[in-house]
């Protein structure tokens, strides 16, 4: 309420109200009868201002507690009953006040004072309660109207007090009284909060309002009669007497209006309840949306809420998985039944609904095992669950009897289905992101294995520069390279690529490392070694996996290279300003389970010269793609080598990697990249000559 000084601190209001009341009390003790205009004015000032501050304080107090309208009404009723009781008691116990004021004893004065204060308190609380009720469910701020009514109460109170001494303003007093009554009626019409009560509360209110009309009516009529209580009140303060009179009148009018409003609202109460339950279920669903992340839980919640809200016998939910719709949850119906009904209904529409479909009175027959079962329903609503204009599922709601789905239900179900679609989509996305996280963890482990399998030190020689670079892809690709020093004078090397990705590729890599490492110790001929490797891999690997490899051996005394290729990318040899791609025949390891591998495998021998450059790599380099899906290819690789042949092995290697990464900067690295560069310093020309 925006009354003057209503923005004071609560404790301050209390202090002022208490102080005023104390002052009033002392004033009344000193002047037990108020018989001069000056005293009367002082008296009224104290009474009305303490009433005002008490109202301010109590209003705040009620505000904080957030009372329901029914409890506010009940409180007003109880206070009225007390007042009624007091009036009744005093009327029975005391006679009329003697006209002669002097015979007023101290005891009587005290009782009068007490009565005055009790009435003051009750009036305060009732007014505060009414002002709270007034504010309920009002779109515009009603304080303006209530405050002006209060103002006229005040005018009326003052005029009434004044007319105790001077009758000349009697007509003005009457006029103000009438205006106050008009304002009362106007304010009393603000009862829209009744609409928001549930049916049960409306019934309660109906009964309570009858009781309250009677109570307020009695109290109002008592204030009109001139018995002890009235005289006592007029004696205490004519202002409060008039206020009380107006409040009682207000109560009567207000509760008569409430009674009729509640009565007229009763027939529509049920529909209103249903609507508000729908709204609150939408709210529940939006809460679910943020609290339930498990898809299955959510699906079950959606069907159970649906049956409850739409007063239906069964509900079931279909969600899309790939290209099919699967039954995700059922409520009030068997799984098989729901499936059969869905089929028979949706096939007609080719699983495509643009809006909620309502089917009335139908009998669906279908076969369950060997029995023909029929399903009867009165009305069935089928809502498509749409996300980004794509149908992600269907929500079925069926009523066996009771009532049909109306066009209004259609709208409500559509809104509900929209919410459900969003919630389900959220749950799906969360599940996917969890899955992604799991995959990332797995890849991390795979990468770690891969790193541990690769050599941590590259051997170095006077006559041969070696550089090796490995760049893993997010999904571990299964690239592997290694160097073995065989005996005193030979260097063996292997570059391999395991098919598949991830943790399985990493495990196969580990196996391959074991195979090459152990075979290289006893077998010096690449062709023989690769044959053995193929046999072992055929026995141990699943059929769908294979490994491509180049295995070679370099005699470090004379620079003779012997190598075999098993399905791997060619070995590029730069010599005399041109690049040759060396591709001896050879099937990938694990591809052939007969004798083709051995019979087709070729071995190649090359005498390395000074400045010969050997490039070995995995297809992660040649198949690296740019933004428009072009592959890096062989030619670019050769050009880079030709242009940079004067540089040392690691500089050439850097140049290649730099070019590949620049080329594929717009695309995520899809496969592991392995690059091994040898640059020969063998000066064999002399040997050849000699």
């Amino acid at each position: 309420m925006s009354l003057p000084s209503s923005d004071l601190l609560n404790s301050r209001k209390f202090e002022i109200a208490t102080a005023l009341s104390l002052l009033l009390f002392l004033f009344r003790i000193v002047f037990s009868t108020v018989n001069s205009p000056l005293l009367l004015i002082l008296n009224e000032l104290l009474v009305l201002s303490s009433l005002y501050f008490w109202i301010l304080y109590i209003t705040n107090f009620i505000n904080e507690k957030e009372h329901t309208p029914i409890s506010l009404v009940l409180n007003a009723g109880i206070l009225n009953a007390i007042l009624f009781f007091i009036i009744a008691i005093t009327t029975v116990l005391f006679d009329k006040l003697p006209e002669d004021e002097i015979s007023f004893g101290f005891f009587e004065a005290l009782i009068l004072l007490l009565l005055g204060f009790i009435t003051l308190g009750i009036a305060t609380y009732i007014i505060s309660g009414f002002s709270e009720l007034m504010k309920l469910k009002q779109k515009r701020n009603p304080a303006k109207y209530f405050n002006s009514m209060m103002l006229f109460f005040l005018f009326s109170a003052i005029l009434f007090a004044y007319s105790q001494f001077d009758n000349s303003l009697k007509s003005v007093d009457n006029a103000v009284y009438v205006v106050a009554i008009c304002l009362i009626t106007f304010n009393a019409l603000r009862v829209s909060w009744i609409a928001f009560l549930v049916k049960k509360q409306k019934l309660q209110l109906l009964i309570i309002s009858i009781v309250l009309i009677i109570l307020f009516g009695f109290n109002f009529s008592f204030t009109m009669e001139s018995d002890f209580f009235n005289q006592a009140m007029i004696n205490f303060s004519p202002g409060i007497y008039r206020s009380l009179n107006l409040i009682m009148l207000y109560g009567v009018i207000y509760f008569v209006i409430i009674f009729f409003t509640a009565l007229f609202h009763l027939p529509t109460a049920e529909a209103f309840d249903k609507k508000s339950e729908e709204i609150s279920s939408l709210f529940d669903l939006s809460k679910l949306l943020t609290s339930v992340f498990d898809f299955k839980d959510l699906a079950e919640n959606i069907t159970s809420i649906t049956t409850k809200v739409y007063n239906s016998d069964s509900a079931w939910l279909l969600t899309r998985e790939g290209d099919e719709y699967k039954l995700s949850s059922v409520s009030g119906i068997g799984y098989m039944q729901a499936e059969k009904i869905t089929e028979s209904v949706l096939e007609k529409y080719d699983y495509n609904l643009s809006e909620v479909l309502i089917i009335d009175k139908k009998k669906i027959k279908f076969r369950v095992r060997n029995d023909i079962v029929s399903f009867n329903f009165d009305s069935m609503a089928i809502a498509p669950l749409k996300v980004h204009n794509q149908i992600e599922g269907f929500l079925f709601v069926a009523r066996k009897s009771d009532s049909r789905f109306e066009s209004e239900d259609k709208k409500a179900i559509a809104a509900y289905a929209d919410y459900a679609a969003i919630a389900l989509e959220n749950a799906k996305l969360i599940k996917e992101s969890l899955e992604k996280e799991r995959l990332e963890k797995e890849m991390e482990v795979a990468r770690e294995i891969q790193y541990k399998l690769l050599p941590n030190k590259i051997p170095s020689f006077k006559d041969l520069e070696i550089s090796a670079v490995f760049i893993p892809a997010f999904e571990v690709g299964g690239d592997y390279y290694d160097f073995f020093e065989v005996g005193e004078k030979n260097l063996a090397f292997v570059v391999a690529d395991v098919s598949g990705k991830g943790i399985s590729a990493a495990f196969i890599m580990a196996e391959i490392k074991g195979i090459f490492e152990s075979l290289s110790k006893t077998i010096s001929q690449p062709k023989v070694l690769l044959n053995y490797a193929n046999d072992i891999i055929n026995q141990s690997l699943e059929k769908k996996y294979f490994v491509t490899a180049i295995y070679g051996i370099i005699d470090m005394q004379n620079g003779k290279l012997t190598f075999g290729r098993a399905g791997h990318t060619p070995l590029h040899l730069f010599r005399d300003n041109s690049v040759k791609r060396l591709r001896p025949n050879g099937i990938g390891l694990g591809l052939d389970h007969g004798n083709k591998f051995a019979s087709t495998l070729e071995e190649m021998e090359i005498q390395l010269n000074n400045n010969d450059i050997l490039i070995l790599y995995s297809d992660g380099i040649t198949e690296a793609q740019n933004g428009i899906n072009e592959e890096f290819g062989y030619d670019k690789l050769d050009t880079i080598v030709t242009e940079n042949w004067r540089k040392n092995a690691s500089e050439i290697s850097n140049e290649i990697i730099k070019n590949v990464t620049t080329f594929s900067k717009d695309k995520a690295q899809h496969d592991d990249i392995t690059l091994v560069v040898f640059k020969s310093n063998f000066n064999n020309k002399q040997i050849e000559v000699g």
């Binding site: 999904e475 598949g500 991830g502 059929k543 769908k544 294979f546 098993a566 990318t569 052939d592 083709k596």
Partner: protein
Amino acid sequence: MADFNVNTREVGSVRVIELKGYLDAHTAPELENTFNSLINDANFKVVVNFNSLKYISSAGLGVFMAYVETMRENSGDIKFTNMNKDVYNIFDLLGFPMLYEFFEDEDLAIQKFNNSL
């Protein structure tokens, strides 16, 4: 996610699998399913048409390796046809032409099956 599509046609006793799009570790299971259902229905003569295939990864190649033996044990085979140069290169590098039959055109592969009857 890359698009991939498998379509199976019936040409006499031969089944033609048409591949479309990107065949990699993620889409390979779809092709595996196709092969499984062919074997379930005792169809062992298979022609794979690569006309619309854009890319094949090592996991995609692995699918053929996993099933070819079953086909051959049941006097059938997997034959490859209509490959573009890039895809053929990958098969070639791995030595597939030494293990599988490749044809320019689907009809030639079907003919080969029919002739061997």
